[in-house]
């Protein structure tokens, strides 16, 4: 297995919101979808997913209800709320500014200073 990058603190919430914006999912499904959309480049502690999900639920960004999974088992499905959608938008913008700032910084050459 190739070496994978650890995710930055605070980015897990954003990843969960993004994953759920693509459609409701249960916890394990969220994990699979994150792995899929990140091209398996990021290392996620699987257990850490749940405290994050509960936190988001408590904050009102997602709602949860019990349903049946593809293989007919009882599972809790999460869905993005309107507040969650707004938060995803805001945090995406913040994230993009952060990334471009970081990229610009890292590409700086001596003559530009």
């Amino acid at each position: 297995m190739p070496e994978r990058a650890s995710i930055l603190p605070g980015t897990l919430d954003l990843l969960i919101l993004k994953a759920l914006s693509l459609g409701p999912q249960h916890g394990y499904g969220v994990l699979l979808r994150i792995e899929q959309i990140t091209g398996r480049e990021l290392l996620i502690e699987q257990g850490a997913l749940y405290p994050a999900l509960y936190r988001l639920e408590h904050q009102g960004a997602v709602t949860a209800e019990w349903g049946v999974s593809d293989n007919n088992r009882r599972a809790k499905f999460y869905r993005l709320t309107t507040a969650g959608r707004r938060r995803l938008k805001d945090e995406t913008i913040t994230w993009e500014r952060f990334v471009s700032a970081m990229a610009a910084a890292l590409q700086a050459k001596p003559e530009e200073v």
Partner: protein, 870 residues
């Protein structure tokens, strides 16, 4: 949450299986990838903000474990609380039923009863009502305070020509009753204004009468049913049946239910009877926004304008406007207030008790708490845990208390005999309000008694506590002082409760030994009524008397219109000849009774002077009377009574009556349930003064109850439609007479005993704690030659000191409380020193017994073991 994490691991395992791993390997890898499950669970809970709840759960579990570990201690705590809470819940159910539950009438909170209070001294034939409610009724539309008004009076009707003729209480009501109360007949219709106006012979039946006498047959509607009252027979058409709940059902006489409603005009046309007559009950509905005070002020103002004369010289007369629910509950208020107070005391005692028990147990747990605190538990956290423990015990106490209460309510209702004035007794039962009350009381008492030990333990000095070592010397003097204080408080409360009980027990003993002045055993009592002209009534009663008097097994038979057990005053105004009517002493009063000569013999009332009525006294001969000894002594202390005459005030003119005999005084029952001093009594012969109601008293040779059926049959051979409202023994009537004081005594006595038991438990707990705290000291003392009895004496002395302190505190408070009980007491002062002495001695005895049972352990201490132990 666990499910969800489980699902995750299972799903991952499955995926890994598909990827070609072995089942074990897949499962292992899935777990590994998931990470520290327990930590994440914890984090999940925290993310959900559930930490408090989790800790609470842990505390409850911990408390339960503690309860299981010391079952004896827990049982005592829970039981003491259960008794306190149970007693309170039962009392609350009663109070709720009688005072708080809304009456089943439309807008019941705006209903008021209007009545006039006339002091007994002003109650003569000549008094006119100060504010005649009948006039209020007549002018009801003129009042700005009232929306509408109804009035009700009572009459006795006999349902006749049925297998079991029955005397019924009829409510004579204004036609607007149904609309006013918001009650719909279950069948048929209500009265119309025309029916009231035209004196129509129509009636509404009670649901119970409809079921009882007509088998619930709907065909009774429109039927003319034969009834009779004292004016004779009549056929009354049934127009409807009222439902069991919602019909006007005030207490006429205790235990009586109205079974028949008839338009008010039918027997007394109030529209033509201005000012001389009052309906028994006048109920008005206040307009929205008008309060009782305003309504009363308006009534008085109108009265002054309409009847200026009546207003003058009306000293002591008062118009009373009361919320309807209050007016119905008034008769029992004083008794219940005292009971509620005492029950509250019992709860306080049980709380103090439990606080003490927890404190003493807390002393044994100081180490445990110290360890927890040194491991980092905050003060608040420890406090919370202690409170949770207390609350857990309280909730258990509450649940058991509820069972006890249920049982007690049943007991109280069973104890309430027919004549007991528990109005709305059917409204007394457990419901959600009562459950809520219990829950509240349990939780509050949990907090109340849990707070003390919790605060004490949480303020612990860690270093000291850890140093102190073994169970012995921990807790210290301060705790002992606190516990002493609680026990003194308990004893003081107990004194108050026991004083109340003691005074009522004394009252009851006195009531039982009251010399009523007549025979109680071997007497059968049967009430009779007549339905014909006055002459016919005399003939009817005479014939019945003759038939019954000649029955085998009957020694004597007599008649009286109201027997002494009936709380009725029938006032006769009179004056002594030679003193003119105008003078101040002109009008005198006595209670009047109509009797047959056999009455005195049947009840064993001796004739002190003169003679009994006999054949010389006929309806057309000179009017003669007999009087009571007290009356004779009052007016003719020295003179010879022979031939004395008094002037009876009769309508239309005075009537001279000659005194022919003097009989012994008899105590007459009062409405308050307690007999007064004997009244002056004037007896007239039933052949000279006809009265439509009579009570047959029969002196039998054997057990009177066994003669009841035969007497009834004999009476019915004379009058086949005769009804018997009363058919019982004099002994039974006398027992019912003191039913209310007995009810109070039993309840208060039970609560007093409860208080005593709880206090005993409290004292025993205190001594046990003190013994365990001083084990080392006791060992030392014994090593130096103290004997077991000297040790017992030592503990007894300290408990005696506490008891004395409790008595000193309790006696003044119980004096104050006893003052409130004055109305319930009979011939005993609220400050009765004998009762106080008995209470003090009993309390001291119980404290010593409790002390010795607990201190006994101290005498078993082995000095060598204890001293080596340290």
């Amino acid at each position: 949450m666990a499910d969800e994490l489980e699902f995750h691991v299972a799903a991952r395992t499955e995926d890994l299986l598909h990827a070609g791993l072995s089942p074990q390997e897949a499962r292992r890898r899935a777990r590994l990838e998931f990470g520290a499950a327990e930590r994440y669970k914890e984090e999940c809970r925290e993310s959900r903000g559930l930490r408090l709840l989790d800790e609470f759960r842990a505390d409850v579990l911990y408390a339960m474990r503690g309860i299981r570990r010391s079952p004896g201690f827990s049982a005592v705590v829970v039981l003491s609380l259960a008794l306190g809470i149970g007693a309170n819940t039962a009392m609350f159910s009663i109070v709720n039923g009688i005072f708080l539950r809304p009456l089943p009438y439309k807008d019941q909170d705006r209903l008021v009863s209007i009545r006039e209070e006339i002091p007994r001294s002003l109650l003569t034939m000549k008094t006119f009502p100060f504010v005649p409610p009948v006039n209020v009724l007549l002018h009801r539309d003129d009042f700005s305070s009232f929306e509408d008004m109804i009035a009700m009076d009572y009459a006795l009707y006999q349902l006749i020509d049925v297998p079991e003729p029955e005397e019924l209480a009829a409510g004579l009501v204004t036609a607007n009753m149904c609309a006013f109360l918001g009650v719909e007949p279950v069948m048929g219709r209500c009265f119309t204004a025309e029916e009231e106006e035209n004196r129509s012979q129509v009636a509404l039946l009670s649901y119970s009468l409809w079921q009882r006498q007509f088998g619930g047959d709907p065909k009774v509607l429109g039927r003319a049913v034969p009834f009779r009252d004292y004016t004779g027979n009549k056929a009354i058409t049934v127009i409807g049946v009222l439902p069991p709940i919602g019909a006007l059902q005030p207490q006429i006489r205790l235990g009586w239910m109205v079974d028949l409603w008839i338009p008010l005009s039918e027997s007394r046309d109030y529209r033509r009877r201005e000012s001389s007559w009052n309906p028994a009950l006048t109920i008005a509905r206040l307009k929205r926004g008008v309060d009782i005070r305003q309504a009363r002020a308006e009534l008085i103002a109108v009265q002054r304008r309409m009847y200026p004369k009546n207003h003058e010289g009306s000293g002591g007369r008062e118009i009373r406007v009361l919320a309807l629910a209050d007016s119905m509950a008034q008769s029992v208020k004083p008794g219940l207030e005292v009971l509620v107070g005492v029950v509250g005391l019992v709860l306080l005692i049980s709380c103090a008790n439990v606080a003490n028990l927890l404190l003493s147990r807390g002393a044994g747990r100081i180490r445990e708490v110290a360890v927890r605190a040194s491991l980092g538990a905050g003060r608040l956290r420890i406090c919370r845990q202690m409170l949770t423990e207390a609350a857990t015990l309280a909730v258990m106490g509450g649940v058991i208390g509820l069972l006890i209460a249920n049982w007690m309510v049943k007991g109280v209702k069973a104890l309430a005999p027919e004549r007991l004035p528990l109005p709305r007794v059917n409204d007394i039962h457990m419901d959600w309000t009562v459950l809520g009350f219990t829950a509240l009381v349990s939780l509050l008492s949990g907090i109340l008694f849990g707070l003390l030990p919790a605060l004490r333990l949480s303020r612990l000095d860690l270093a000291d506590a850890m140093k102190a070592g073994g169970g012995g010397a921990i807790g210290g003097r301060r705790q002992q002082r606190l516990m002493n204080g609680l026990v003194i408080f308990e004893i003081a409360l107990c004194v108050v409760a026991m004083m109340g009980a003691g005074l009522l027990i004394n009252t009851f003993i006195r009531l039982k030994s009251v010399d009523s002045g007549f025979r109680g055993d071997r007497v059968l009592v049967a009430s009779l009524n007549s339905h014909t002209s006055p002459g016919g009534a005399t003939r009817l009663f005479g014939e019945i008397l003759e038939r019954v008097g000649s029955m085998p097994g009957v020694e004597a038979a007599g008649l009286i219109n109201y027997p002494p057990t009936e709380p009725v005053r029938s006032i006769q105004d009179f004056r002594l000849p030679g003193i003119s009517d105008a003078s101040a002493a002109g009008s005198l009063q006595a209670d009047a009774r109509v009797v047959s000569p056999g009455y005195f013999h049947a009840l064993g009332i001796p004739i002190n002077r003169g003679r009994v009525f006999d054949e010389r006294d006929q309806s057309n001969s000179r009017r003669v009377i007999m009087i009571s000894e007290g009356m004779a002594r009052r007016y003719w202390p020295h003179e010879n009574l022979e031939g004395q005459t008094i002037m009876l005030s009769e309508v239309p003119k005075e009537l001279p009556a000659e005194i022919v005999g003097v009989v012994r005084d008899v105590r007459q029952m009062r409405r308050t349930g307690l007999p007064d001093q004997p009244d002056d009594m004037i007896y007239s012969d039933y052949t000279q003064t006809s009265y439509p109601l009579q009570t047959l008293v029969v002196l039998t040779q054997g057990e009177p109850a066994r003669m009841a059926a035969a007497v009834k049959r004999q009476v019915r051979t004379v009058d086949r439609n005769q009804t018997f409202r009363l058919l019982t023994t004099m002994r039974q009537l006398l027992a019912e007479e003191i039913a209310e004081p007995r009810f109070h005594m039993v309840l208060l006595g039970a609560y007093g005993a409860l208080a005593l038991i709880l206090t005993g438990i409290g004292i025993a707990g205190l001594v046990a704690y003190s013994v365990s705290r001083r084990t080392r000291e006791i060992g030392l003392r014994m090593a130096f030659g103290a004997t077991p009895s000297s040790l017992l004496r030592m503990f007894s002395l300290s408990v005696l000191n506490l008891t004395i302190a409790g008595l000193v505190l309790g006696i003044p408070s119980s004096l104050a409380v006893a003052g409130l009980m004055r109305g319930l007491l009979y011939e005993i002062a609220p400050t009765d020193p004998v009762t106080f002495a008995v209470v003090a001695v009993v309390l001291a005895g119980i404290s010593l017994a409790a002390c010795c049972s607990a201190a006994f352990r101290a005498t078993r201490v082995e000095p060598s073991v204890v001293l080596r132990h340290e």
